[in-house]
Structure formats: structure tokens, C-alpha cells
């Protein structure tokens, strides 16, 4: 922990101050990707110690949820990871379904996979765009948000919302695909492929960007596992771990896809892994649209008010940031006794303390951004 103490500054023979510097970044600062405060101890320009301080977006969602019925919690889960609301919806619904023993129809499972893989692309675009903006590559930012906008348009057609979808509900999804949506989706995927490819060549193929990103914030695979890192952050270090393949859920075993891995674990690899994951998500959505058959979108015989039997259930999915889990404790009443979210970025963010040390202060926002934190999910 960084302690602030008052003492006389250290000077060299000529009286020049050579003392270390303690600076405070945030909580409201454009380079912190949200409301995070970093206390950094500097030796010249090099960071010797860094401590993130979080909690500025703590809304007590877990406490609020104890006073809501199971269906009323779905909109709360939208506000967890507000860049990828579908994931929190889905993870929560899976936990409720496990608790209440609900079987989800196949058609609904396909819709969930399609929307969540599109969400993965949209979420990675946000991350890649902000990495571009951090390094001064404004074009990448514009490309990324253009692609993201097309996907968000698809979601708007589907459920009426652009950010907080509440699309996945316990027992199924809220709406079926509208007429002509699948064709629009295929168009958007083709567009995504073209522009992700352009971004890859323009940014990650650029020698200035390579020089800026390579070898910065290197994460050792052993360290990644020990600190509980998951998702692209861990996979960029070579940790071969993806819940979609290693703990298959929903209809994922029916699709053919690869898990992109990095080798060096630096910022460059983390960005590259996200680029390749976008291609894999495109592949999954195309296969899902191909296999999609009409059917019910909601389980039959769902009660108006869920009263699951007492017990606790945990379920997790692979979100754009890592394994996102929801732990629910039921006491048999219509409201959960305890609702807990295992958010991937909470664990990933704690790595800033390790990764930031030894790099210059100018690299700190890049390192933070490469972990792709969303503070709605970190602070809950």
C-alpha cells in the first residue's frame, strides 16, 4: 500500500531534489477508463509502486437485489458491465435457471449465443478503440466505434435498447428475431471483418504502434493464474483457458471455433487476441444463423413469480473480459437471500499493481486500458 508521509526531500550535492514523487491519477481522469484512482510512486518518470483505489461507482447492487424479485433483478444486471450488458443478463439467468430447474428451449439458446457473440465484438471494439485513442491513433477509434455502432443498431432492432438490453430473461429471451434481421446481421458481420482487418493492419501492423505497445505490461502466465486473471488478459499470456470450450455451456459444443492465444503477454498481444476473437465470434454467429430453426423463445409454464427452492447455485459464462459468474442463494421466497457477482475485471484490475511497476508514467494508462476494466462491474 502506498503511504503518504511527510519528511524533508532528498537532495543531491548541488541541492537538486532527487526525491521520489507521489502522484494521484483520477478518480475522474480521461486516462483511467472510468472512475478509478491510481496512486503512483515515481522515481523520475518510472513507476515504482502503484495502488488502484476503487469504489467510486459502488451502487450496492448486491444489497439492492436482496429487495427485488428474480425478474426485477434483470435490469440491475444491465448496469454491471454496461459495455456488455448481454453477458451479465445471461450469467444471471443461467444461475436462476439452475436454481429453479428451468429448461431453456433450443431456439432461445441460439439467440443467446448470437447476441452474446455480437456483444463480444462490440465490447472488444470499445477496448481496441480506446487503446487507439490512448496512443493517439484516432482513426482506429473511429473505425472501432463505426463497427460497434452497426452491432448496436442490430440490438436496437432486436430489443429496442442500445445499451441496457435486458434481452436475456430467466427461461429464455424477450423477443424473437424480427423479419430480415439475419440478413442484416450477415451484412454487419462482413463489414466487421473488413474493418477489423483494416484496424489490424493499420494499427498493429504499424511500426510506431508496435514500438509503443510491445514489451509493455508483460504478464507472466503463472502470475495471471495466481491472481485470478481470465479472458483475453490471461489468454494473451498463453493461458489456454476459455469456458466456452473448457466448461461448455449452452449450444457452444455445436460450433467450430478456435481460442486465440498470445505468447508474450504484453499490451500488443492483448490487443491482438481481441482482434482474433472478433473473427472467431463472426464465425460462431454465422454458424449459429445457419443452424437456427424456428421454435419457442421462452420455456413453457413459467410462473409469474419465481419462488425457487432453498439452496445456492453458481453459474458462469465466458464474457468479453473473462469468466463472469453469478452466485445466488435462495431461501424459498420470491426474493434472493444473496446475490453475488464474480466479475472478471475485479480480479484482472488487481494486476495493475504488478504490471505497472517498472514502466514510465506515460505507459500506466495504456496498461490499465489493456486490462479492459469496466467500473460498473468492478465496483458493482
Amino acid at each position: 500500500m502506498v503511504e503518504v508521509e511527510s519528511r524533508t526531500p532528498v537532495t543531491d550535492e548541488s541541492g537538486r531534489c532527487v526525491d521520489e514523487l507521489l502522484i494521484n491519477v483520477g478518480p475522474s481522469h480521461p486516462s483511467t477508463h472510468g472512475v478509478c484512482r491510481l496512486i503512483a510512486r515515481l522515481d523520475g518518470e518510472v513507476v515504482t509502486e502503484v495502488e488502484p483505489v476503487i469504489g467510486y461507482l459502488h451502487r450496492g447492487l448486491e444489497k439492492i437485489a436482496e429487495n427485488r424479485t428474480y425478474l426485477q433483478i434483470v435490469p440491475l444486471t444491465d448496469r454491471l458491465d454496461y459495455v456488455g450488458s448481454m453477458y451479465a443478463n445471461w450469467a444471471y439467468c443461467r444461475a436462476v435457471e439452475r436454481l429453479a430447474g428451468i429448461r431453456v428451449p433450443e431456439h432461445a439458446e441460439y439467440l443467446r449465443v448470437i447476441t452474446c457473440e455480437l456483444q463480444r465484438i462490440a465490447s472488444h471494439m470499445m477496448s481496441l478503440g480506446s487503446t487507439g485513442a490512448d496512443t493517439g491513433a484516432g482513426t482506429v477509434f473511429i473505425y472501432a466505434f463505426d463497427v460497434r455502432d452497426r452491432i448496436v443498431d442490430l440490438f436496437e432492432d432486436l430489443c429496442g435498447a442500445r445499451l441496457t438490453y435486458s434481452y436475456v430473461r430467466p427461461g429464455g429471451v424477450s423477443r424473437d428475431l424480427p423479419e430480415g434481421w439475419a440478413d442484416k446481421c450477415r451484412e454487419a458481420l462482413a463489414y466487421t471483418r473488413t474493418y477489423v482487418d483494416k484496424m489490424d493492419k493499420l494499427f498493429f501492423g504499424n511500426s510506431i504502434a508496435r514500438g509503443r505497445l510491445k514489451g509493455i505490461g508483460v504478464l507472466d502466465p503463472e502470475l495471471a493464474v495466481a491472481w485470478g486473471a481470465t479472458g483475453p488478459t490471461a489468454r494473451a499470456s498463453g493461458v489456454d483457458w476459455d469456458l466456452r470450450r473448457d466448461d461448455p455451456y449452452s449450444v457452444y459444443p455445436r460450433f467450430d471455433f478456435d481460442i486465440p492465444l498470445g505468447s508474450n503477454g504484453d499490451i500488443y498481444d492483448r490487443g491482438r487476441v481481441r482482434i482474433f476473437e472478433c473473427y472467431e465470434s463472426c464465425r460462431i454467429v454465422e454458424q449459429a444463423l445457419e443452424q437456427l430453426e424456428p421454435g419457442p423463445i421462452r420455456a413453457e409454464g413459467l410462473p409469474r413469480l419465481l419462488r425457487p427452492r432453498p439452496g445456492d447455485a453458481y453459474d458462469h459464462i465466458e464474457s468479453a473480459r473473462g469468466s463472469l459468474g453469478v452466485y445466488l442463494v435462495s431461501d424459498g421466497s420470491p426474493k434472493p437471500w444473496r446475490f453475488k457477482v464474480r466479475s472478471p475485471t475485479f480480479s484482472n484490475l488487481s494486476l495493475v499493481r504488478v504490471l505497472g511497476v517498472g514502466h514510465t508514467i506515460a505507459d500506466l494508462p495504456l496498461i490499465l486500458g489493456s486490462l479492459d476494466p469496466v467500473f460498473g462491474e468492478v465496483d458493482r
Binding site: 469504489g55 459502488h58 491472481w227 445456492d312 447455485a313 469468466s323 459468474g325 452466485y327 475485479f346 480480479s347
Partner: protein
């Protein structure tokens, strides 16, 4: 590996943990006493559970139940480690030396439940300000700002 195989595997390696192993909603759960919590965690860590997913607590009225979610990449299986600790003196050993990931998760449980983790290097509040009174996720927590929503069902 599925949960049944995991149970057999654990029973072979650690016969004393075998009767404490149960199944709940398809997940393996190991429920231990506070005295055995640390040893059980060390055993499971050696057994191959290298990922600590989360640490949390549940207010069970008469006691706090600590919940550790563990996952093994080698065995490809997840499980729970649970332990009930007395409410009037909520103390538990810290797991930071086994899984560094426990650092922030234990701070979160300390912040929201008031459970003291002995041996934790930096046990401070995680989300709430340092001068906050009480631990909000306890069921007996009172705050003037909490408005109870009327039941419409």
C-alpha cells in the same frame, strides 16, 4: 472431469475430507469447520485447484458462511469450499499466500460483512470510505437511506 469423479479422486487422496463432500445443484461442495479451513484450502491447492474465482460470504442469521469458488485448469472442474464462522467473532485465516487473487476478494468481504482475515497484508475497506460505519451486506445493517420497496405480489 465430472463431480462424481472429483469426489472419488478427493476421497482417495484425502480420506478425512471425504465425508465433508456433498453435492448441491450439480456443484461439488466441501463444508469444513473453521479450525480445518486453512488445512482444507492448502490440500485443495496442492490437489490442483489453481484458480480462485471468488471469495464471498452469506449472512445465515446465526453465522456467516464463507464461500470460496475454486477451479482447476488441469482437472477441468470447479467446486466450492464453505465454512461457517461465528457471527459474534467473525474471523478466518487469509488465503493470500496460496492464491494472491484472494487479496481484493477478502478485502471486499471485510468491507461488506466485517469478516476479519488474519494474516492479510492490507486489510482495509475495498469499496466504501474508510470512515463508513457498519457492514452493509449484513442482514441487520440499518441505514436511513434504505427504503424498503413494498411487495406488489
Amino acid at each position: 472431469m465430472n463431480v462424481t469423479e472429483l469426489r472419488e479422486h478427493i476421497c482417495e487422496t484425502y480420506p478425512d475430507l471425504c465425508p465433508l463432500f456433498s453435492l448441491e445443484f450439480g456443484d461439488g461442495v466441501l463444508t469444513v469447520d473453521p479450525e480445518r479451513l486453512r488445512q482444507a484450502a492448502v490440500d485443495l491447492h496442492n490437489f490442483g485447484f489453481d484458480l480462485l474465482g471468488m471469495v464471498t460470504a452469506v449472512d445465515r442469521g446465526d453465522a456467516f458462511e464463507l464461500v470460496y469458488r475454486l477451479r482447476s485448469r488441469v482437472l477441468s472442474v470447479g467446486m466450492f469450499l464453505k465454512c461457517r464462522i461465528p457471527r459474534d467473532e467473525p474471523k478466518a485465516p487469509s488465503m493470500v499466500d496460496l492464491w494472491p487473487a484472494a487479496d481484493w476478494h477478502e478485502r471486499e468481504v471485510y468491507d461488506l460483512f466485517g469478516v476479519v482475515f488474519e494474516g492479510h497484508p492490507n486489510l482495509r475497506r475495498m469499496f466504501l470510505p474508510e470512515d463508513w460505519k457498519g457492514h452493509p451486506l449484513r442482514k441487520d445493517y440499518v441505514d436511513d437511506n434504505i427504503i424498503r420497496r413494498p411487495d406488489y405480489f
